[in-house]
């Protein structure tokens, strides 16, 4: 059984706002399936007493003091932007989603 369905790939593409063709869906579903199957093999050897690893170094509580450091200038900040207007990043509007979370 496939680890990821064609519908799931289509859903992920929609969440990422990627326009994926029908042919690409078939291709990506196949490729992602191979990757997920390989990763699933690791799950098979992990016993119940081994917690999932989220961090490879056993550190906690790395904090920074609440002290202001220099910012970029707006020119620097916008220098890598594909487009800018009124000192703001200009991006295609995400239609039907007027309000941010």
């Amino acid at each position: 059984m496939a680890a990821i369905s064609r519908e799931e790939v289509a859903h992920l593409a929609r969440l990422s706002r990627l326009a994926v063709t029908e042919e690409e869906l078939d291709m990506f579903a196949g490729q992602l399936d191979v990757i997920l199957q390989a990763v699933a093999q690791v799950g098979e050897v992990a016993a119940a007493d081994i917690p999932p690893t989220s961090h490879s170094v056993p550190l906690t509580n790395i904090f920074r003091e609440d002290v202001v450091t220099p910012c970029l200038t707006p020119q620097e900040a916008l220098s890598g932007a594909p487009d800018a207007e009124d000192q703001r990043f200009r991006v295609p509007r995400i239609l039907t989603e007027d309000v941010a979370s």
């Binding site: 859903h11 969440l15 990422s16 706002r17 989220s54 961090h55 170094v57 550190l59 906690t60 509580n61 790395i62 904090f63 920074r64 003091e65 609440d66 002290v67 202001v68 450091t69 220099p70 910012c71 970029l72 200038t73 707006p74 900040a77 916008l78 890598g80 207007e85 009124d86 000192q87 703001r88 990043f89 200009r90 991006v91 295609p92 509007r93 995400i94 239609l95 039907t96 989603e97 007027d98 309000v99 941010a100 979370s101």
Partner: protein
């Protein structure tokens, strides 16, 4: 679309509401959550940004210790347990308000859990259970440009300012609150008010709803008595305490009209409109699984040292509820009187007025009387009315000094609210001062006595109550600028009668 809404009384007789509140508080730290960019309000676009908050390749976030401390203090003040160990999580979504395509938040491991906040409503204490308090980062501001810019295809562009992106944001989520019945809107408002006061007392945020440093989403559902809870809607864009109450009420009415007509409630985000008090459907929300949360690999877990937590707990300031109880005793108020002070949002205002030298009774009289009336009329919070505690204290000082009588003081106060200046300035500018020159008053009194011989005789023969007519006559000639009590005594004195 105009649907006739059912009456509120009928709605709460037929249905039981369940509410829930999600509140976002922007912390007042000097710097952002993961980088040293300043957080001050109102800078030019994209002047408070750096590689970290712009999500540039190779940059790494580091947690702001002051923000961690602030959220632990909030959690402790809300009687929460503080997690011994927790992680941040990535919330993935594709929207340009975050430059990284994800927001760093907390998912299944919030730093504070299982607390409560007691609020007073209608003389009763309602315990609001807190499910969680977690830390995340605020988003940037998007400005949608359309036809107004003159471009034909302009409606497809957004302009983004990332100054706000990365400012520490605390989200406080209640458990569902059932059983409040008709009081649900008031409970919602009382909770947000109390929460705001707690956070302000902690000094970790300026909690100003109008500037967006306190934002509230309100969940509402209705069910038939004894039935399972209904489908809830989430109302956003609720930008004042008054709106919290209005939003719950209006959503209860709307849902009841849908249910009455045999319809079903759709689980959705709705938008509150300040002008009409209505809600309209918002964007369809992605579901939790669509956010593909996973532990944030760029930030190490937090494990607050229990000794540090204990230290923070011991150093918590006196919280508003305890503080209010102390004030109630000092001011000698009954529970009911204190409740009306609280409902009016006048506790701090009266406290500050008393601190400026006014008696508690006089301070309460102005804030709950004239000023509350004006605030209600103009639909603003009492604290935003335009009169300050110092001005009210100054006004009462003029009354106490015998320079203003009650009626004139009200007129002066109107002037203060309308921005005409300080009480003393208004008194002078408008020529409103009690005629304390007894010489001038005596002349006016004698004239009144001469003009009303019948009344004067009545008073002389012992009918002291008739003095009111002469007081009225003198008030007329002095255009109300005499102190009624002084005047009464003076008239009796001139007539040789004992008051």
């Amino acid at each position: 679309m105009t649907t006739t809404l059912p009456a509120y009384d009928e709605v709460v007789a037929r249905y039981e509401p369940v509410i829930g509140l999600e509140t976002h508080v922007e912390l007042g730290t000097n710097t952002k959550m993961w980088c040293g960019c300043p957080t001050d309000f109102g800078g030019e676009p994209n002047t408070r940004v750096c590689p970290v908050c712009l999500g540039l390749p190779g940059s790494l976030p580091v947690a702001n210790k002051a923000a961690i401390e602030a959220i632990i203090r909030i959690g402790l003040a809300l009687n929460c347990s503080i997690a011994e160990w927790c992680r941040f999580a990535r919330k993935n979504y594709f929207y340009p308000d975050m430059p990284k395509n994800f927001q760093i938040s907390q998912y299944d491991e919030p730093i504070c859990v299982d607390g409560y906040l007691d609020v007073e409503v209608g003389g009763e204490t309602v315990r609001i259970e807190i499910e969680r308090v977690h830390l995340e980062e605020d988003t940037g501001k998007t400005l949608h440009v359309g036809g107004a810019t003159g471009r034909i295809h302009g409606a497809t562009e957004s302009l983004v300012d990332y100054n706000r992106a990365g400012i520490p944001l605390v989200e406080i989520v209640t458990k569902p609150i059932p059983g409040t019945g008709a009081l649900a809107p008031e409970v919602a408002r009382a909770y947000v008010t109390e929460l705001r006061d707690v956070i302000r007392t902690l000094g970790v945020s300026d909690v100003r709803m109008e500037e967006g440093s306190l934002r509230c989403d309100v969940n509402t559902s209705l069910n038939l008595p004894g039935a399972e809870w209904g489908t809830r809607t989430e109302t956003k864009n609720v930008n004042s305490l008054r709106s919290v109450e209005r939003a719950v009420r209006s959503e209860m009415l709307r849902q009841a009209s849908v249910l009455d007509a045999g319809g079903r409630i759709t689980q959705e985000t709705r938008h509150f409109h300040e002008d009409t008090g209505d809600t309209t459907p918002g964007r369809s929300k992605e579901t939790a699984t669509d956010y593909r949360y996973f532990p944030e690999p760029d930030l190490v877990p937090i494990a607050p040292d229990p000794a540090w937590v204990a230290e923070l707990k011991a150093a918590l300031p006196e919280l508003p509820r305890v503080h209010r109880r102390r004030l109630q005793q000092q001011w000698g108020l009954s529970d009911l009187d204190m409740q009306s002070v609280l409902n009016a949002g006048a506790v701090e205002l009266i406290e500050a007025t008393v601190a400026a030298g006014t008696t508690p009774a006089a301070a309460r009289k102005w804030w709950l009387g004239e000023l509350s009336r004006r605030a209600n009329e103009s639909g603003v919070e009492l604290a935003e009315i335009g009169a300050t505690p110092a001005q009210v204290a100054e006004l009462q000082g003029l009354v106490d000094a015998g320079k203003l009588n009650d009626k004139m003081a009200r007129t002066v106060l109107e002037g203060v609210v309308d921005g005409e200046g300080s009480p003393t300035e208004i008194m002078t500018n408008r020529g409103l001062e009690v005629v304390s020159d007894t010489g001038a008053l005596t002349v006016a009194v004698d004239e009144a006595i001469a003009a009303n011989p019948a009344i004067a005789d009545k008073i002389r023969s012992g009918k002291v109550a008739a003095v009111g007519a002469l007081v009225g006559a003198v008030m007329k000639t002095t255009r109300g600028q005499a102190d009624a009590k002084t005047l009464r005594e003076l008239i009796l004195e001139r007539l040789g009668v004992q008051g």
